[in-house]
């Protein structure tokens, strides 16, 4: 029986302070997931409010043994620059391509 299960969390638009509560509500650990793919392909802007929530989610995932990958898509590099400016390049597994992210998450089970 294959117990490997990737949950997808998709966020879109601007992740900023005005949506803090909404972001927090969206970033809940999916029940039964062994890995989480965060689809940021339709995010147009993110700030440190989003970073704080993502760090909280990452910590929660780590303690549950759940691997997390973020897919940004090729077109939007704003999130990648945000984490670089914050000095958090090592904190998140960020991929432009969904296939690479899935490969990374799949590696968690081998």
């Amino acid at each position: 029986m294959n117990k490997f299960s990737i949950a997808v969390i998709k966020l879109s638009g601007e992740l900023e302070i005005g949506r803090k509560d909404e972001i927090r509500a969206a970033l809940k650990m999916p029940a039964g997931a062994t890995a989480v793919l965060m689809d940021f392909g339709e995010i147009t802007y993110a700030d440190s409010t989003a970073l704080a929530e993502l760090l909280r989610f990452r910590a929660e995932a780590e303690s549950a043994g759940v691997r997390v990958a973020i897919v940004t898509g090729v077109a939007n590099q704003q999130f990648a620059r945000l984490i670089t400016y914050a000095g958090l390049q090592e904190a998140f597994a960020v991929f432009e391509a969904r296939a690479a992210a899935l490969n990374y998450l799949g590696g968690a089970t081998t």
Partner: protein, 136 residues
């Protein structure tokens, strides 16, 4: 050549209004035909300062008196002041918070913070070669 231009936005704001300040600034800067990445970065830095101000509004009210004053000297420098009446409390990094000032300093050429009367954060940005030349 575009000479000196200014934008001043002053209002009572909540966290939900930060994006409106950013939108006003982006519209103002559009005339300089700066490239998208530069505009996004300036918007991010300004958004961080605004967010810090509204997050630390008076405990008695969710409203913060905010002022954004942007001036462009041609395309050589863009100087943006954010003023609020609160005390400066850009938090230290703790529990995943407090990255705002780090982000601002990574983007702006210069950052100064004056807390003599309320808080005034001044950011200077250099478009440098990130100006799109000519009209398409």
């Amino acid at each position: 050549m575009i000479g000196k231009s200014e934008l001043r936005v002053q209002c009572n704001a909540t966290p939900a209004d930060v994006k409106l300040f950013r939108a006003a600034l982006t519209s103002f800067l559009a005339v300089f035909r700066l490239n998208r990445v530069f505009l996004e970065d300036v918007s991010l830095a300004v958004g961080e300062v605004l967010a810090n101000a509204v997050e630390h509004a008076s405990p008695e009210s969710e409203w913060t008196d905010l002022e954004l004053f942007a001036r462009a000297e041609g395309t050589e420098a863009i100087v943006i002041d954010i003023y609020d009446r609160g005390n400066f409390v850009f938090r230290e990094r703790r529990d995943g918070r407090g990255f705002g000032l780090t982000i601002v300093r990574a983007i702006a050429r210069e950052v100064s913070i004056d807390t003599a009367e309320g808080t005034r954060v001044r950011m200077t940005f250099s478009p440098g070669n990130r100006v799109l030349r000519g009209r398409s």
